[in-house]
Symmetry: C2
Subunit: 262 residues, 2 copies
DNA sequence: CAGGCATACTCGTATAGACGAGTGGGCAAG
DNA sequence: CTTGCCCACTCGTCTATACGAGTATGCCTG
């Protein structure tokens, strides 16, 4: 039997008009912030908190759901509720598509991860021709059908990113871009070999909560948003030659950009 | 008495091992996605759904809380649960700090919002000297104390962004930068007048769920993440002359960047 | 000693009921 | 007609209970 007496937590203020479950959430949050519960540590069980505060179990669960929504903790069935550890983040530099990074035989993702000491994997590779969505069609300049290259990226076994590249068929069909393995330097290297000299990229960044299918694909804990990045590659003639739609687990990424002061 | 018969919703599958509240959430989500409930529309009330599905009220509330966590709906006490409308977004262009945008008398935020037909406000202005946090100190190159300029930005009455600029005291003290109104072109114009010719900016972007204080400051609905952007300005000598820490309501922003293919 | 099972602990799901508080419409009194 | 109150409807909070399912541990059996 658990001896409880979770000495780190205070009492409720019955005179306060703050809801009880919020008061409990506040105390737990503060305890976490102060380091009384460290990353990965187990919080008191529901039963212990019921005992400690003298409230019903649903009230305690309600507190936990507040903290889950904030991304502070996560529950594991049969084990307990734990302070969510901050996973190692992947930093995306704004020069990651520079030509000088394209001469290796491996993809940028693999090279970076190796350098950071993580174990990278690429997964769920799928290459096919399909009808362009309204959005993609607009971005690529009114194309009807496109070549789509889908893949998922994992770091140390954890899915962190899901990306789809779209290319106009008149560019990609029949080239190595339409093969599962696009070869050294990736599709940007192939595009340039095909005479589409790249001029610049435009990136569009949003953050939002994931859809259920994204939760599944990225195995996201509750309270983790996604970063949605859409990159369009333009050649020197101003034509959009590729659109890459990427959904990233927000807790696994920091994006870096360098801007000239002009 | 409500006549219910919310004909748009199906039945539960008792053989499914998917939890009842998830099935209900799924049906509501699908109805929203299909446009059966439009933006801003009211969903059936808890009581109606209790009736329709023959489940207890807590189960229905549980479904709603799933959708709230996804940022799809929001509840209004005494009124109902509504499909969350997508607010107008502010697009941040990567050239927004170019010198050519600095000659007007008004701040970039005001100019942009006016152009977009929204009503901009700046709020909670606070300028003071304070101790630099560990992080800020590191970014500015080991300064102890800094000038901090805090302000909140609103669009059509809605808070969308909360920003703090930090500057080393040896640069900012006694200048117009230390005044509430930094003058035309903002602090970057003043910095250049003071001889700190700007070379480039570095921006660091994260997305996460907001802290309770951020929820309050930005009046965030549940299920809305924040974008956390930290920008460092460097002068031509490579010195960091300003750090701007910005927290944005993620549903109000799209960030745009343009990258050279190098 | 190894394997398997029982058990106690964990969270997950669901029910039923109670009261409170915000909102808005309708009715009644002035 | 206007004012003000009441009531019905909404979601918010909380209690108490029940059973299910995942996990870990230790004991018991072979």
């Amino acid at each position: 039997m658990p001896s409880l007496s979770s000495g780190l937590l205070g009492d409720l203020d019955p005179t306060s008009d703050r809801a009880v479950f919020r008061q409990i959430a506040d105390q737990l949050r503060e305890a976490i912030d102060r380091g009384r519960f460290k990353e990965g540590a187990k919080l008191p069980s529901e039963a212990e908190l019921v005992e400690h505060y003298g409230v019903s179990r649903m009230t305690v669960r309600n507190s936990f759901s507040v903290l889950q929504g904030e991304g502070l903790v996560h529950a594991e069935h049969g084990k307990g509720v734990f302070v969510r550890p901050r996973p190692p983040v992947r930093r995306l530099a704004s020069d990651r598509f520079a030509r000088r990074h394209r001469d290796q035989g491996k993809s940028a993702f693999i090279v970076e991860a190796d350098a950071a000491g993580s174990h990278p994997q690429v997964d769920g590779l799928e290459v096919k021709e399909e009808k362009a969505s309204q959005d993609i069609s607009t971005r690529l300049g009114s194309v009807r059908r496109v070549l789509a290259r889908r893949r998922r990226y994992l770091l140390d076994g954890r899915p962190v990113e899901f990306a789809t590249s779209y290319l106009p068929l008149d560019i990609a069909r029949g080239t190595q871009i339409a093969e599962p393995n696009p070869g050294p330097g990736g599709i940007y290297a192939r595009l340039e070999e095909l005479g589409h000299r790249l001029d610049h990229f435009e990136e569009e960044i949003r953050a939002r909560m994931p859809s259920p299918s994204e939760v599944k694909t990225l195995r996201l804990a509750s309270g983790v948003p996604v970063i949605h990045l859409v990159r369009t590659a333009f050649d020197t003639e101003g034509r959009a030659v590729e659109v890459c739609d990427t959904v990233m687990a927000a807790d696994a990424y920091v994006l870096n950009y360098q801007l000239p002061a002009t």
